[in-house]
Amino acid sequence: MTSFQAPIIGRTRILEFGTWDLFETWNLELGAFIALVMLVVFPAFSHDSPEHKINDISSQIARSSNSPTLLIERALEHRELGELADAAADLKAAYQLDPKLTVALKELALVQLADGKPDLAFASINATLTNASSPDLLMARAEIQTARHDYSAALDDCDAAFRQPTANLEWYLLRAQLQRRLAHFHDCLAGLRDGVVKTGSAVLHEELIDAMIDAQEYKPALKKIERELADSRCRSSWLIRRARIRLAFGQTKAAHRDLQAALAELNPRITPTAPDVSLIIDRGTAHALLGDISRAHDDLTLARTLSADPFSLWRLEQLISSAPER
């Protein structure tokens, strides 16, 4: 752990929680954490499949009694098998057994979110939040608010989380996406620049260039895009970005050349049966910028079926909805 210039302390990624998280959320000191880990009843059958583990934990529960720890362990296994209703039931039961165990409630919220029940998730996460809530919980609620399309409230949670002396790469990304969506371009650019300096992340750098285009900082954005184009084997995503700027400059022919080149590169990379969704979004964007709204719409529809998150679709949706009727 040597590479960060500034330490970045994080949170539990949505839908990902493990034993570590249970203790981290309790904000325990290191020694106490280790001692508690030692006391947790870990199933002996750690190398079996989740089904085996569920059976084993169920046997343990049947032999002894319902323990919150065992229920949470079993919820982890149910989640791994995508059995979200069972995972939620175990987490609820764990919380009912020990109402101080707010971590169970937080994880319940994330399971409910994954199960497509953002309103239930919102109610669950709110029950865990207090005035002194951790940035981790605030960011979890930000994700839930985002799923409920309440972007302003989500951004408020992000801002509150960032006011505490911890941050993590994914938080930078979510906050920037919300800021772009709400057209808070100045804050978005400042936050991303800070994130790029602190982490060096290429994804934040890419996000920064997109934000610069949205904020109409075309010339500095173009400079960065040219550098990426010179350095890349696959160039389609950067060609599309350059085309957006060229269209803004009124350089339609040059923009269309970029878009045609992007499509020529994209098509062989896209398998007909189960394509990479980002390539579909890029192709749809290229079609939309070329004015082929019908194909753009087809790609948007396909992307929606391929687990694309709303932020990644937003640009394409905007292009399609703002296109003149034909």
Partner: protein, 668 residues
């Protein structure tokens, strides 16, 4: 390698490991608690990392000859990290180790600038005192410059971190192969689960660093986090023993695109580009952070070869099922389209405790996995037999990938079915050596006995066009063996400690019945009939029995005369509240009841007990040990002396055999 040599090697390794574990120090110097080992190699730099148990004035001396270490990295240029639970660190510039033993110091020295593809020797110092021995075994070779056409060899191992003999055997078999072929490793890749069972600092120490010490001092291990390390380490923020152990690129230091996180990264070696992903605890969705970075990284690389590695396999039917489990399904449906669209050649994974190697395949993203139209070449791909697989020169999307599941590096192996895209499925411990030379890649699976069990190749040359096969070759039908757990036994813990060893001397009573208190710790075993007036107990090494040549204490008069044997053995527990599981490993014929400090904790194949035993079911000793966790042990175990007592029963007095061969294990 002969099995005799392996056994000898295992013995030496085990003894050495025991010695290390007891003292937890470096074999050469009491100061060094871990390493030194190599990390984050590039053509012109490398990290040397080591730990001490006291603060030192650290420096690293290095040079082109073992007798001329004429370059120095001084203490001010070395990153220092410290293990403590105190809020205040001894010095403000220190970083904190997550959960290293109190008072541990970790030093991370970057050697720079170095010449590419050059062998250097090094030594670690405390002030003027050399800590590493004055021999020439501490050396490394820098990476060649990006794009250099240099042959490379690397080792792939996964799910190895048990600290058991099997792990040693796999390592030794690999080393023996290198010696036979007179070709060393350039680096190695661990595909996760290197420190069972929870990736704790002490588990890294004994099950990774001490186990692989001889290899780690000369080549870099490029890691990916397994689910077991994920119990104590987190990918989102790079905190935990896993992240303490490794120094990996986050800013594109070794080639590739900056990830900003240690959980996923890439590096170049000559004409090959390597991509490490975190399949365990990061968002695997196709528009999430890791997938976006992956796409950028693939877009940038201009290497001839792309090799990806992560823990959870997209295709497996070993101990895990990629058609059932979320992480595996998501790696297949979300990540594989990006990798194959980016032209990946080889995907290395673990998690599933088996060796599985695919045909040349592309686009098998559905659930359940189907091979139809997803296989581009269904031959064996053996360069010595039907020839290697072929792809076009350079990097081209969707021209075929070989999947290798290498989760057979040391822990219990298992198979639960047949994954239809696989060409080789081998249920044996081992590891994989990959060689790349020019436009040819070969992979060799070496089992723990040093035998070559699979050999495959891939050549990237000219222009190759494949047709997708509607009905590719399929592995022969496989039926699971009869359930070995019909008797209620289960899998032992990975990290058990032996409390009563195998073949230990037990007190035993045969041919008569004991008093009712024979299971208690307070029971005084009558030594002779003269002093006690009863049949004396004897002492004999486990196992007890007759008739099947598996007994150390042969009960020659048992058949036809008596059917029950009573045995007991005392053992010590240092901290009863630290024991998370207590279990019996036992080979038995036909039935038994076990007692811990007088309380029944296990029963198999019978009702009643002693002279009132009945309904005894016949069970043949298999020669293998079954594991039975002792139920409610936590109620009966105590700190200090304990006693385990077992009564073994034969179903019939005239039975042709009897076996009672136990040992006791603890998970601490």
């Amino acid at each position: 390698m002969t099995r005799g040599r392996i056994i000898l090697g295992l013995l030496i390794c085990s003894l050495a490991r025991i010695a290390f574990a007891q003292t937890n120090v470096h074999p050469h110097n009491p100061f060094i608690a871990r390493g030194p080992y190599l990390q984050l190699a590039t053509p012109n730099s490398i990290f040397i990392v080591w730990r001490t148990e006291t603060n030192i004035q650290p420096s690293v001396h290095f040079g082109l000859s073992p007798t001329k270490l004429d370059h120095i990295v001084k203490s001010n240029d070395i990153i220092v990290r410290y293990g403590t639970t105190n809020k205040a660190l001894p010095a403000p510039r220190l970083a904190r180790l997550h959960s290293a033993p109190e008072g541990t110091w970790q030093f991370e020295a970057r050697l720079y600038p170095l010449r590419p593809d050059t062998q250097y020797y090094y030594a670690v110092y405390d002030g003027d005192q050399r800590l590493t021995p004055e021999d020439n075994s501490y050396f490394f070779r820098t990476h060649p410059i990006k794009g250099a056409r240099k042959p490379m060899r690397f080792w792939v191992v996964g799910d190895s971190g048990t600290g058991r003999e099997t792990q040693s055997a796999v390592h030794l078999a690999m080393l023996d192969q290198l010696t036979r072929q007179a070709q060393p490793l350039d680096f190695f890749i661990h595909v996760g689960d290197m420190a069972y069972s929870r990736g704790r600092d002490v588990e890294f120490q004994t099950r990774f660093f001490e186990m692989y010490d001889a290899t780690l001092r000369n080549v870099v291990c490029w890691p990916t986090m397994g689910n077991h390390e994920g119990s104590t380490s987190r990918g989102t923020n790079g905190v935990g023993p896993y992240y303490d152990a490794y120094v990996v690129p986050t800013r594109g230091e070794a080639g590739g695109v900056p990830s900003g996180l240690e959980a996923f990264y890439s590096f170049d070696y000559g004409r090959a580009h390597f991509i490490c992903l975190d399949s365990h605890d990061l968002d695997r969705r196709p528009t999430a952070l890791m997938a976006r970075w992956l796409r950028q990284d693939l877009d940038k690389t201009k290497a001839d070869w792309i090799i990806a590695f992560f823990h959870h396999p997209p295709y497996t039917k070993g101990s895990h099922d990629s058609d059932r489990e979320k992480q595996l399904i998501e790696m297949r449906t979300h990540i594989m389209p990006i990798l194959e669209g980016g032209g990946v050649d080889l995907v290395l994974t673990g998690h599933s405790h088996i060796y599985e190697r695919s045909m040349l395949m592309d686009g098998a993203y559905a659930t359940p996995t189907s091979a139809e139209y997803a296989i581009l070449d269904d031959r064996e791909g053996n360069p010595r037999a039907d020839g290697p697989y072929q792809k076009s020169a350079g990097i081209n999307p969707h021209e075929g990938t070989i999947q290798v599941v290498a989760g057979h590096g040391g822990t219990t192996i298992r198979r639960r079915g047949t994954m239809p895209v696989m060409r080789k499925i081998i249920l044996e411990h081992g590891s994989v050596i990959i060689d790349i030379e020019g436009d040819s890649l070969t992979g060799t699976m070496i089992d723990k006995y040093g035998e070559e069990r699979d050999y495959f190749g891939l050549v990237k040359r000219g222009r190759v066009v494949h047709q997708r096969l509607p009905q590719p070759w399929q592995a022969p039908e496989w039926k699971p063996p009869p359930n070995p757990r019909d008797d209620g036994s289960s899998e032992p813990p990975e990290d058990y400690i032996v409390a009563i060893p195998q073949n230990a001397p037990w007190q035993y009573l045969a041919g008569t019945y004991p008093p009712t208190n024979w299971t208690l710790l307070t029971f005084r075993v009558p030594a002779s009939r003269a002093t006690s007036g009863v049949v004396p107990w004897k002492t004999g090494e486990a196992g007890f029995g007759y008739g099947d040549n598996d007994d150390r204490t042969v009960l020659t008069n048992m058949q036809g005369r008596y059917s029950t044997v009573y045995i007991r053995h005392a053992f010590q527990v240092e901290h009863a509240d630290h024991v998370s599981e207590l279990g019996l490993m036992i080979n038995y014929d036909d039935a038994f009841v076990a007692y811990l400090n007088g309380k029944e904790v296990a029963r198999v194949g019978m009702k009643g007990s002693g002279r009132n035993a009945y309904d005894i079911k016949a069970h043949n000793a298999t020669g293998k040990f079954s594991y039975f966790p002792l139920k409610d042990f936590e109620k009966y175990i105590r700190t200090g002396a304990n006693v385990l007592a077992i009564e073994g029963h034969n179903a019939h007095i005239d039975s042709g055999g009897f076996t009672l061969d136990p040992f006791l294990v603890i998970e601490d």
